[in-house]
């Protein structure tokens, strides 16, 4: 009786989702920030899931990953207290685990690509943080742009250098871009002819521009009326901006082309997603950075901190994805339903541990709800998850609903009975003694355990 089936039966899956929903709502009663973690976890799950698909989906996932991590870092940063930050992480983990229950475990390929995207985004985020620090050091965006425009120097010499660097960068980009990225093998020869002709045209245009500028400069020494023209050309921010933009774009193209060449030459298969990962992470990091810097509402120091922390988180994410990929490859990965139970239990424990004194009050009631219900939901999820895993292994994911509903009802009933009993016991004890001591509560536990043990002995 053992046909392997990775998917859980549908009814059990729905029961687990319901348990996660109830547990999350209960946590939100005491720590509303858990709700902020949920979309982050969903985003992470979507990004990882997309990484296992076509190149277009990989690019979308790679773009989404840094955005989600930036949002997560911002959420934890704004949470205020470590407990709130931890609860937000629990919310994210819970949402991701629920996605794992519904959609299945991420594949080793998806994890490998996610790790690659995390590493690439980490480097880009780190670079963005350094750029933000540079902007802060220079004195603002305006000053940074000005510095970038006049990087090659003032006057005629600076313009000449810019006129040399820009076409060289464009020609380099033309030559470095792999032909396979823009044409098919049957048109390779015509592509090479067109590319060389375009490179020559750019070279001639650059030579004409440099020659014209040189003639104009020499002419201005002989004809004083030409001096204003030379100054206008050499001092034009528009000319320098155009050249800087062309140079920057071309250098970016060169970088991407070099990465593409290196990964394409290292693969024996046809499904290498490195280009899609790079193409996704570039806007995934670049657009939020441009928005944060360009909006002006966020200080450059804050932006640097945000992107620096995101770079660290993405680096840790890369390491985690790499390690988890090995675990998945060895079929030793934790089942997602166990992850759901663990996340719920951690949420309940964090919520319970955050209450210092137990006096009968509204705060204690909220903390009690946020402690008892998530832990009960965790127990339910673990029990039902084990049942569903056994059922999937013995019968398959298409098992009928009725026995599953019976088991869900039984396990839910056991979990539900414990919550009011525990809450009433807690309230009663608190009413008799304004501050219930921990040893006294432990005594209650021992008493209950003794009753259960005695019943067990009698029944057996």
């Amino acid at each position: 009786m053992s046909p392997p089936d990775d998917r859980l039966p549908t009814t059990v899956t729905r029961g687990l989702v319901l348990a996660a929903l109830v547990g999350t709502l209960a946590l939100a009663v005491s720590q509303p920030i858990v709700a902020a973690g949920v979309p982050i976890g969903l985003g992470l799950a979507v990004a990882v899931g997309a990484a296992g698909g076509s190149n277009r989906r990989v690019a979308l996932g790679a773009a989404l990953l840094p955005v989600v991590v930036l949002a997560g870092v911002a959420t934890i940063g704004l949470a205020g207290t470590p407990i709130a930050g931890l609860v937000a992480v629990v919310g994210a983990a819970l949402a991701a685990a629920v996605c794992g229950v519904v959609c299945g475990q991420p594949t080793a390929v998806a994890l490998m690509r996610t790790g690659g995207a995390a590493l690439c985004a980490s480097v880009l985020a780190g670079g963005s943080a350094l750029v933000a620090i540079g902007i802060d050091t220079v004195g603002g965006i305006q000053a940074a742009l000005t510095t970038a425009l006049w990087l090659t120097g003032d006057g005629v010499s600076g313009l000449l250098v810019a006129l040399i660097v820009a076409p060289v960068a464009v020609v380099a980009a033309l030559l470095v871009v792999p032909p396979a990225a823009v044409t098919v093998p049957s048109r390779y020869d015509s592509y090479v002819t067109s590319r060389n002709a375009l490179a020559k045209l750019i070279g001639i245009a650059a030579a004409v521009a440099i020659g014209g500028l040189s003639i104009l400069t020499v002419g201005s020494m002989l004809v004083p009326t030409l001096e204003p023209v030379v100054e206008a050309v050499t001092g034009s921010a528009a000319v320098r901006g155009l050249l800087a933009a062309v140079t920057g774009t071309a250098l970016l193209g060169v970088a991407v082309a070099v990465i593409a060449r290196s990964v394409w030459s290292q693969t024996g298969g046809r499904r290498n997603a490195a280009v899609a990962i790079v193409a996704g992470t570039l806007p995934g990091v670049g657009l939020p950075f441009a928005a944060a810097i360009g909006s002006g509402g966020i200080g450059t120091t804050t932006v640097a901190t945000l992107f620096g922390a995101a770079a660290a988180a993405l680096g840790v994410g890369w390491l985690a994805a790499w390690l988890y990929e090995g675990v998945v490859g060895r079929n030793e990965a934790t089942n997602p339903e166990t992850a759901v139970a663990a996340a719920l239990a951690v949420g309940g424990v964090v919520s319970g541990a955050s209450v210092d004194t137990a006096t009968l009050s509204l705060e204690l009631m909220r903390a009690g709800v946020a402690t008892f219900i998530p832990i009960a939901a965790a127990l339910f999820a673990y029990d039902v998850g084990r049942y569903g895993r056994t059922l999937a292994r013995e019968i398959g994911a298409e098992a009928s609903r009725r026995p599953q509903l019976v088991r869900l009802g039984w396990s839910g009933g056991v979990a539900a009975v414990g919550v009011p009993v525990g809450a009433l016991g807690m309230a009663g004890a608190t009413a008799f003694a304004p501050t219930l001591s921990v040893p006294a509560t432990a005594g209650v536990i021992v008493a209950v355990a003794a009753v259960v043990g005695g019943t067990w002995v009698l029944v057996r």
Partner: protein, 442 residues
């Protein structure tokens, strides 16, 4: 029915561990809430105590219905010997389980004893149900029939109580149908019309000696007297000669593409193309030899070909069977390596000029298409049976490969070859009937 095995799972261990962990955490961090929450897992320990091992009684009955175009009726008398069927057909199996006990079975799991050789193509022979007393549940699934006699086994039954801590497992005897007998139906199929100069049984598109009327032409000196149309002579006083459709002998070569590219299946749980090709070639070979047509086998490997010359004797049959079995083994190296290392060139050089060609290939690359074009250019009659290993997958690369394969098959048809795109859902018997039927009506 075997002895029942009762397993009691120590289902409360994890709950005890959770209790201890929560209580320990609560005491460590000084949280009364956590210590109180440590009572929650104890309820699962208490619930596990309620588990009981009541013996369940179930009755299992099986009904097999064969869906076969060649069969007059799919139903047979229940339980009276093996059900006759044709290989390649499908059979619907309905196994009914009834709770004959007095208590409700909250978790009854049944696995029917499907013969290992018969793949389940739809439905499932497994089920988990909740059954009230005297209530029944039915497992319905379809199997693809293979040649031979296949006996269904007993059903494996497992019940669990409400708490899930006590499981009882046993094998239950099944009433009703218990076996299927599949014999091949392709032995009597006629071959195609590629013939040689020797007299035989295959009708041709030329006049000569035979039984079927072909045409009437003007008398030529030397025509046999018995071929003269005397009725026309009596009416018109003109001599005319009656021709009958010539019947000639034919030799057939079944070419099986056994290159590494053929060791591919649509998914990991399906048989690869080489296995399906070799199976089809083997059955076609048997049918043709049984009809008296000298038939040979050629295997195309990575760098050479292996062959069994056309023949009808027991030695030829044995060699053909051995070759077809050997080429299905991954890594099988052909004994003969061509001088050029090009198996297709070697095949074209060695193929006799008066044979029909049956080509079995998945067409996942261009080489088989080029072979068909070369064979047609040399005047061979070619029939292609192409198992589809690109169907029913959502993978983009495989879908692209399916498009390319479809284009290749279309181009093969344009050469005049008869092409049969053999998808997995279609039984092999139907495929062979179609192939030979097309050939016969040419």
């Amino acid at each position: 029915m075997t002895e029942r095995t009762v397993d009691r799972f120590t289902d409360g261990d994890w709950a005890v561990a959770a209790t201890v962990a929560l209580a320990g955490l609560g005491i460590t961090v000084g949280s009364q809430l956590l210590v109180a929450a440590a009572t929650l897992p104890l309820w699962y320990v208490a619930a596990a105590v309620l588990g009981s091992d009541r013996s369940a009684m179930v009755r299992v009955r099986r009904r097999v219905t064969v869906h076969d175009a060649s069969s007059e009726s799919g139903d047979a008398d229940e339980g009276e010997g093996p059900i006759p069927a044709s290989p390649g057909a499908t059979a619907t199996v309905r196994t009914t389980v009834r709770n004959d006990g007095s208590g409700t079975l909250v978790d009854l799991r049944v696995v029917d004893g499907v013969p290992d050789a018969l793949p389940v193509v739809s439905g499932s022979p497994r089920a988990c149900e909740t059954l009230e007393p005297l209530e029944t549940a039915t497992l319905e699934y379809e199997v693809e029939l293979r040649r031979g006699e296949h006996a269904f086994g007993d059903a494996t039954v497992r019940t669990r109580d409400l708490t899930g801590t006590v499981a009882e497992t046993w094998t239950a005897g099944v009433e009703g149908d218990d076996a299927v007998h599949c014999s091949p139906t392709v032995e009597t199929v006629p071959p195609g019309n590629g013939t040689n100069e020797y007299a035989g049984e295959v009708p041709t598109d030329e006049g000569g000696s035979g039984l079927e009327f072909y045409a009437v032409r003007e008398y030529e000196p030397g025509d046999q007297v018995r071929a003269i149309d005397w009725r026309r002579y009596a009416g018109t006083r003109e001599l005319a000669t009656v021709e009958y459709r010539a019947e000639r002998s034919t030799r057939i070569v079944c070419i099986v593409d056994a290159r590494p590219s053929q060791f591919r299946a649509a998914t990991t749980d399906r048989v690869p193309a080489i296995q399906r090709s070799a199976d089809a070639a083997g059955r076609a070979f048997e049918a043709l030899v049984a009809a008296g047509h000298p038939t040979g086998i050629v295997g195309i490997h990575e760098q050479g070909v292996t062959s069994v010359p056309p023949g009808t004797g027991p030695a030829t049959r044995q060699e053909a069977t051995d070759l077809l079995d050997a080429m299905q083994v991954p890594g099988y190296v052909a004994a003969a390596r061509s001088r050029t290392g090009d198996p297709f060139a070697a095949l074209l050089q060695s193929l006799p000029g008066d044979v029909q060609v049956y080509l079995f290939s998945a067409f996942v690359d261009d080489d088989p298409l080029e072979l068909v074009e070369a064979l047609r250019a040399r005047g061979y009659g070619v029939r292609v049976v192409s198992p589809d290993v690109t169907a029913d997958t959502a993978d983009t690369a495989t879908r692209l490969a399916a498009l390319e394969r479809g284009t290749r098959l279309a181009r093969a048809r344009e050469t005049g070859a008869q092409v049969l795109d053999w998808d997995r859902e279609r039984s092999l018997g139907a495929v062979l009937r179609t192939v030979v039927g097309e050939v016969a009506t040419e």
